[in-house]
């Protein structure tokens, strides 16, 4: 159980029994080493692949996450032990060390914390995938029973899953705002009506609710609990002096997160699209017309919500949807020169071409542009404020069509993409391979 949910009672017991003695985290842990060597799927050719102590294990978890996300040559065999239950005890302890380190040093709103929460979600997802179907069903149900102490889950608690398209509202079976997950509850609400259709209600339950939705929900809830835990650690620091060992681990984690973040990615077809100067000829129709300025209403939306994310990502992180890495503008453009000299001027030009020019009557929109780049609500791009807001990702074609229908004049390429940014990366790739 704590292999999947370290925050369960079982997980807490493991940590209690261990005594939580941080001084030992650099001591060689022969039990851990033995287990890792005994896993046949594990690559052992290089000594560096093997975690020797708790500190190693903490760092390896983070490394795994980064590599899996952004390294096209990611080798699962290097990290096979992370997916074997034998390490449960050590893994649980490593989880707590990791969360505490991030909690004391960076707090719940940091980039590091977001990465750790996401990491935990990923790890659970992959661990579940490695289980046998029957086991998977059983464990999922057990964990769910354990997590849902309050009697019901409301769909509104899953809003961010809906927003990020991980779950569609249409897939959930809803009744009075509650997400129906429980077999008995399903029967109670729908059993009779289903019988009238001459179908077995039990089967309908398996088919409609089954495991997938449950798994998504437990992953999501554990991620949320992880974040809450980091927060609670952070709050305690205000009262108790943090252990220097934790601070050291936190620095190491942060270092791994930024150093290992490599910018791979590309478009389907195998090419990689790296950060490079913008080629306006390859822009999709909607962006081209937005650059000419907006003559009627909706100027702010087009400039702030549409052009700003598009131009900044196209210039700095065109493969964002592919690599799925949480980057900041300054990860790619450390002194913000590109942003100030190339991206902002293009946005400002387009704003000027609007009629009336956008900033003439709404100068505050400049601040909104900075906010959409991740620099908070301030009137300049100051690295110290970075992270106060998030770097807004480009909106999808679907959203363009809803919000600014006048801009969307699809051409051939549009048929095969769902986001104007993918249009651009695809064109770059085609352009390259034509040469």
């Amino acid at each position: 159980m704590s292999f999947i949910n370290p925050l369960s009672d079982e997980g807490k017991r493991i940590v209690m029994e261990d005594g939580g003695n941080l001084d030992r985290i650099y001591d060689e842990n022969s039990q851990l080493i033995d287990i890792v060597y005994s896993i046949s799927a594990q690559e052992t050719s290089d000594d560096a692949f093997i975690p020797k102590n708790y500190s190693d294990l903490v760092i390896k978890r983070v490394e795994w996450f980064i590599e899996k996300k952004s390294d096209p040559d990611y080798k699962h065999k290097k990290y096979a032990y992370l997916f074997h239950r034998e390490i449960t005890k050590m893994d649980t302890i490593a989880f707590y060390i990791l969360c505490q380190a991030i909690g004391v040093k960076f707090g719940p709103n940091s980039r590091e914390s977001r990465a750790v929460v996401e990491l935990q979600g990923q790890i659970i997802e992959n661990r579940l995938e490695e289980l046998l179907i029957s086991e998977r069903t059983e464990i999922t149900q057990k964990i769910l029973n354990n997590l849902i102490v309050q009697d019901k889950i409301k769909w509104t608690q899953l809003a961010d899953l809906v927003s990020s398209k991980k779950i569609s509202l249409q897939e959930l079976v809803l009744k009075d705002g509650n997400v129906i997950l429980d077999r008995e509850e399903f029967m109670e609400h729908f059993g009779e009506i289903i019988k009238k259709t001459n179908r077995p209600p039990e089967k309908m339950y398996d088919v409609f609710i089954g495991n997938r939705i449950k798994e998504l929900i437990i992953i999501k809830m554990i991620m949320q609990n992880t974040e809450n835990y980091i927060k609670s650690v952070h709050e305690r620091v205000k009262i108790i002096e943090p252990n220097p060992i934790l601070l050291k681990i936190a620095d190491k984690v942060s270092e791994v997160l930024s150093k290992e973040m490599r910018y791979y990615g590309g478009v389907s077809g195998g090419g990689t699209v790296k950060a490079s100067p913008l080629n306006v000829d390859l822009f999709p129709p909607c962006i081209k017309s937005a650059l000419e300025g907006i003559k009627s209403g909706g100027r702010n939306e087009v400039i702030v919500l549409f052009l700003t994310p598009f131009l900044s990502y196209a210039r700095l992180n065109p493969s964002v949807f592919r690599s799925n890495a949480t980057l900041k503008v300054s990860d790619v453009d450390p002194d913000l020169k590109i942003t100030k000299n190339e991206i902002l001027p293009m946005i400002y030009d387009a704003a000027d071409r609007c009629s009336p020019p956008l900033f003439d009557d709404q100068p505050q929109e400049k601040i909104n542009i900075n906010a959409k780049l991740g620099f908070g609500m301030h009137d300049d791009l100051n690295p110290q404020h970075e992270g106060e807001t998030t770097w807004y990702t480009p909106m999808s074609c679907e959203k363009v069509k809803l919000q600014m229908p006048a801009l969307c004049r699809p051409d051939e390429t549009c048929k095969s993409i769902g986001n104007p940014l993918s249009y651009y990366t695809r064109k770059i790739w085609q352009n390259k391979s034509n040469k």
């Binding site: 409301k154 509104t156 809906v162 809803l174 919000q403």
Partner: protein, 320 residues
């Protein structure tokens, strides 16, 4: 009726008929957090960013300015004067009778028939908001030419426009339900009409409504005159919920075409831009819709509500 109100009539309305008490509580209680906007000359709301710290100020403004149209934001702000410090927004569905894609009337503007149809659409959306999504703090407003549903449940007011667009598609039936489902034993084909719960049920109801309101002149993507005619001839089967038979009569491939066309048509039942816009302004309930001389007002009992009785200002009856 439906004639524009003269300047004199507007004055009479605001000075003699209008009362601040007609502004619903859900607005009065948050008056200081909302942005107000006005249209003084009938050219669109260009007097915006107005703020009233108390209902009394709003009252004085209305009585003295007697605006052509009055609006207030669905958003709550910390600093409404700058539209800054966004706190949350009502979730809104706007059904304008004039823009319903399936109207059985052929009127130019609006008439009793399309207003009634707007009301039917609105009621089914409200049912879904309550029954499926469990929302309770729902207010219905007659807008003068259609209806606004305004949802003030705390949980949804903080949601972003992505979630709102999903909700919208759910309640109007604008997504094709899956028809392939799998569990550990295999893959199943299940038609939306054979699933009596969840989204497929909502979708089935919306398709039925649409088919029942099609006319010979309806325009559906990819549906030709012959197919439309066949649908109309066989639609009585749906009254008895004989979907399988209906599908066989139409032919399975052609059935798919019809359903797909209705899916995109349903998207047009509600003005999507209004629902996903977190900073929209909407007509202020109690104010006058001067273009059609009707009152925009909160509706307490949807079944009993008749705009031609309740939303017609006195001055209209007195017109010669």
């Amino acid at each position: 009726m439906f004639n524009p109100a003269t300047l004199e009539e507007r004055r009479i309305y605001y000075r003699e008929e209008w009362d601040i008490k007609q502004v619903p509580d859900f607005i009065v209680n948050s008056v200081e957090n909302r942005e107000f906007g006005f249209d003084h000359f009938g050219r669109g709301p260009n007097d915006r960013y107005k703020v009233f710290n108390t209902p009394e100020y709003l009252k004085r403004f209305m009585k003295s300015k007697t605006p052509f149209a009055a609006y207030c934001s669905v958003a709550f702000y910390e600093k409404p004067r700058k539209r800054d410090g966004w706190i949350k927004s009502e979730l809104v569905f706007d059904v304008d009778a004039k823009d319903i894609p399936i109207r059985t009337c052929n009127c130019e503007n609006v008439c009793e028939i399309c207003l009634r149809e707007a009301k039917e659409i609105i009621s089914s959306i409200i049912d879904t908001l309550k029954g499926d999504l469990g929302l309770n703090n729902i207010h219905l407003v007659y807008s003068g030419r259609g209806y606004h549903i305004r949802v003030l449940d705390e949980d949804v007011m903080e949601m972003d426009s992505d979630v709102r667009s999903h909700i919208l598609k759910y309640v109007v039936g604008a997504d094709l339900p899956k028809d392939k489902y799998d569990d550990s034993d295999g893959i199943y084909n299940l038609e939306h009409f054979s699933i009596p719960f969840g989204y497929p049920k909502v979708f089935t109801e919306r398709v039925k409504y649409a088919i029942n309101h099609l006319t010979q002149d309806s325009k559906l993507d990819d549906v030709n005159a012959k197919l439309l005619k066949d649908v109309l001839t066989n639609r009585n089967l749906l009254d008895r919920d004989e979907w399988g038979l209906f599908k066989t009569k139409i032919g399975p491939l052609r059935y798919k075409k019809v359903v797909k066309a209705i899916t995109s048509l349903n998207m047009g039942l509600v003005d999507a831009k209004v629902s996903i816009d977190l900073k929209r302004i909407l007509r202020l309930p109690s104010s006058l819709h001067s273009k059609v001389s009707m009152r925009c007002m909160e509706v307490k009992n949807i079944d009993a509500f008749d705009p031609f009785k309740e939303a017609v200002p006195k001055f209209v009856w007195e017109r010669k």
